[in-house]
C-alpha cells in the first residue's frame, strides 16, 4: 500500500455513548496503523432503523446531511465503525443516484447533497485498502491461544448489492484479521444471524432468544470470546448476557470484544487505551490466558 490512507470519519451516536470503547479502540488502532481520520464536523444521527421504518426520504435526508458535510470537507470516502450507520449512509447514497429521489431528499435539506461520497466500514478499509498482511506485520503481542468466534451481525455485508463488501453469507474479513493477530479463530456458523437488533427495549424476549442462541453456539464450539463489529450486537451479547442467562437458564460468562479492541492489544496498545474496562462481562481471565497455552503445551 502506497500513500497515506486518509478518510472522513463518522463515529455514529453510540460511539459517543454505549459503544465508546469501539470508537476509542478504532481511533487508536487507526493511529497505530498510520490511517488518518478526520471527523465529519458536526455530524448528526443517520436515523438508524427507526427512520427507515417511517419513510425513506426522511431516512435518506438524515444520512445525506452528513454526506454533504463530507463533500464540504473535500473528501471522497467516509468510513464508520457502525454497521447501522453504514447501511443508512450507503443506502441513502445508492437511492440518491436516482435523480427524482435525490430531488425529493434535497428538498428536506438546507444544503443539497451532490452524490460524490463513498461510504465504507472501517473493517472494509482495513482489509481492502490497508490489507491483512500490513496488519500482521505490525503485531507485537500475538493473541496466541485465544479461541475467538467472529460475529458480523446481519447487515455489515447484506444485502450484497448495497454493501458491496465480503460475502453476505460467510464473511471472512474479521476472521482473517483475527488470524493475522495470532488468535485461534473457530468456524462460527451463526456469523450473520440477527442478535435481536434494537428490540432489547421494546421486545426483550426476542433478544433473549436470538442472542441466547448466539452465546450457546459460541460456547458449544469452544470459543473463549466473541468478537464483533457492531455496537448493537455487542450490547445485546455483553450488557444483556446476565438477562439472557436468567431468561434461558444458561450460565454464559463469555467476553464480547469489539474486533478493534483485540487488534489494539495485539498492536501493542494498553488495555486502557482500547477501553477494556468498559465491557460488562469481565475479559480479565481471557486476556490473562493469551500466550499461555503455548508455554504450557511446550512442557
Amino acid at each position: 500500500m502506497s500513500g497515506t490512507l486518509n478518510y472522513a470519519y463518522y463515529p455514529g451516536c453510540s460511539g459517543t455513548g454505549t459503544s465508546m470503547e469501539y470508537d476509542m479502540s478504532t481511533r487508536a488502532v487507526c493511529s497505530v496503523l498510520g490511517i488518518k481520520l478526520s471527523d465529519v464536523p458536526d455530524w448528526s444521527c443517520c436515523g438508524s432503523t427507526p427512520a427507515h421504518t417511517v419513510d425513506h426520504t426522511l431516512s435518506s435526508a438524515l444520512s445525506a446531511r452528513n454526506l454533504s458535510l463530507v463533500e464540504d470537507m473535500g473528501m471522497e470516502t467516509t468510513i464508520t465503525p457502525c454497521p447501522s450507520c453504514l447501511t443508512n449512509l450507503k443506502t441513502s447514497g445508492k437511492r440518491m443516484e436516482k435523480e427524482d429521489f435525490r430531488e425529493k431528499v434535497n428538498k428536506l435539506l438546507d444544503k443539497p447533497y451532490n452524490g460524490t461520497v463513498a461510504t465504507k466500514s472501517v473493517l472494509q478499509i482495513l482489509v481492502e485498502d490497508l490489507g491483512v498482511e500490513a496488519i500482521r506485520e505490525k503485531v507485537v503481542k500475538p493473541l496466541e491461544g485465544l479461541k475467538v468466534a467472529a460475529y458480523y451481525g446481519c447487515i455489515m455485508n447484506r444485502p450484497p448489492e448495497v454493501m458491496e463488501f465480503d460475502d453476505p453469507e460467510h464473511p471472512m474479513s474479521m476472521d482473517n484479521i483475527m488470524e493475522a493477530l495470532g488468535a485461534d479463530v473457530v468456524p462460527f456458523p451463526l456469523k450473520v444471524e440477527c442478535c435481536g437488533a434494537s428490540f432489547g427495549i421494546p421486545r426483550k424476549d426476542l433478544v433473549m432468544k436470538l442472542s441466547g442462541k448466539l452465546l450457546d453456539a459460541a460456547e458449544d464450539i469452544g470459543a473463549q470470546a466473541i468478537v464483533t463489529a457492531c455496537p448493537l450486537c455487542q450490547m445485546n451479547l455483553d450488557l444483556r448476557q446476565g438477562q439472557i442467562n436468567m431468561a434461558t437458564g444458561s450460565h454464559h460468562k463469555i467476553p464480547v470484544f469489539y474486533y478493534t479492541q483485540l487488534m489494539g492489544l495485539a498492536l501493542g496498545l494498553t488495555e486502557k487505551e482500547v477501553g477494556m474496562g468498559k465491557l460488562c462481562v469481565s475479559p480479565k481471565a481471557v486476556l490473562k490466558a493469551i500466550g499461555r497455552k503455548e508455554k504450557t503445551s511446550a512442557k
Binding site: 451516536c13 453510540s14 459517543t16 455513548g17 454505549t18 459503544s19 465508546m20 470503547e21 458536526d42 455530524w43 448528526s44 444521527c45 436515523g47 438508524s48 432503523t49 427507526p50 427512520a51 427507515h52 421504518t53 417511517v54 419513510d55 425513506h56 426520504t57 426522511l58 435526508a61 438524515l62 446531511r65 428538498k107 428536506l108 435539506l109 438546507d110 446481519c154 447487515i155 447484506r158 444485502p159 450484497p160 453469507e169 450473520v192 444471524e193 440477527c194 435481536g196 437488533a197 434494537s198 428490540f199 432489547g200 427495549i201 421494546p202 421486545r203 426483550k204 424476549d205 426476542l206 432468544k209 436470538l210 450488557l239 444483556r240 446476565g242 438477562q243 474496562g277 468498559k278 460488562c280
Partner: protein, 186 residues
C-alpha cells in the same frame, strides 16, 4: 384458521401502492419459502414473511397491515439476500410499515413507541440521546421497569450520559423533520 375470499376482498389499489412505493414486482414471488426459512423472527411472527408476500399478491390489505410481523421485522436483510427472484423483501416490509403508520395501524405498540422515542431524540438533539430516549420510551409506554436491572451494570462504566450531546446545527435537523411533516401532510 382464517379463510380469505379473494374474489371479494382483493384490494388492487393496495397492491399497486405497495409495488409503487417499494419498486418491487410482487408477482415475482413464487412462494418458495426461502425468506421464511431464513427469517430469525419467524418464531415471533403472527404471519410468516412468505405468507405476507402471498397476501400482498392477493391484495389482502387489512390482514397485512394488522399483522404484528411487519413491526417485528428487524430489517436483517436475510430475506432480501436469499430471495431467488431478487425481490427486496425487507424493503417491502419497510413500505408496509410506512403505510401502516399512515393508516393508523400499530400492532406492536412497544416497538412503534421505541422507534418514535428514538426519532424524537434525533429531532430534538440532532443525535440519539440514549438516556433521554429510554426515559421518553418509559413515559410513552408506562413501562417503568424497562431495563432497570441494567443500570448497575452500565452506569459505573461511564458510557451512559445524563445530558444530551447536542449537534450545533440541530435546527437544520429539526427542519428536516419539519419539512418532511409538511410535505407528507402530517
Amino acid at each position: 384458521m382464517e379463510t380469505v375470499n379473494i374474489t371479494t376482498s382483493c384490494d388492487q389499489q393496495f397492491v399497486d401502492l405497495v409495488e409503487e412505493e417499494s419498486g418491487q414486482t410482487l408477482n415475482l414471488c413464487y412462494q418458495c419459502g426461502n425468506c421464511t426459512a431464513g427469517c430469525p423472527y419467524s418464531f415471533a411472527y403472527d404471519i410468516p414473511v412468505s405468507q405476507i408476500m402471498r397476501l400482498l399478491q392477493l391484495g389482502q390489505k387489512e390482514t397485512v397491515l394488522k399483522s404484528k410481523s411487519i413491526w417485528l421485522c428487524a430489517t436483517c436483510e436475510s430475506c432480501t439476500t436469499r430471495c431467488p427472484n431478487n425481490i427486496d423483501v425487507a424493503h417491502i416490509m419497510d413500505v408496509l410499515r410506512h403505510i401502516a403508520r399512515r393508516e393508523g395501524y400499530a400492532s406492536v405498540k412497544t416497538v412503534k413507541s421505541f422507534w418514535d422515542s428514538f426519532l424524537d431524540s434525533v429531532e430534538k438533539h440532532g443525535r440519539a440521546f440514549e438516556m433521554g430516549l429510554l426515559v421518553n420510551y418509559i413515559l410513552r409506554t408506562g413501562r417503568v421497569w424497562t431495563d432497570l436491572d441494567l443500570g448497575p451494570k452500565i452506569l459505573p462504566k461511564g458510557k451512559l450520559h445524563f445530558n444530551p450531546n447536542d449537534v450545533q446545527g440541530k435546527e437544520e435537523i429539526a427542519k428536516i423533520f419539519e419539512r418532511f411533516k409538511e410535505g407528507s401532510g402530517k
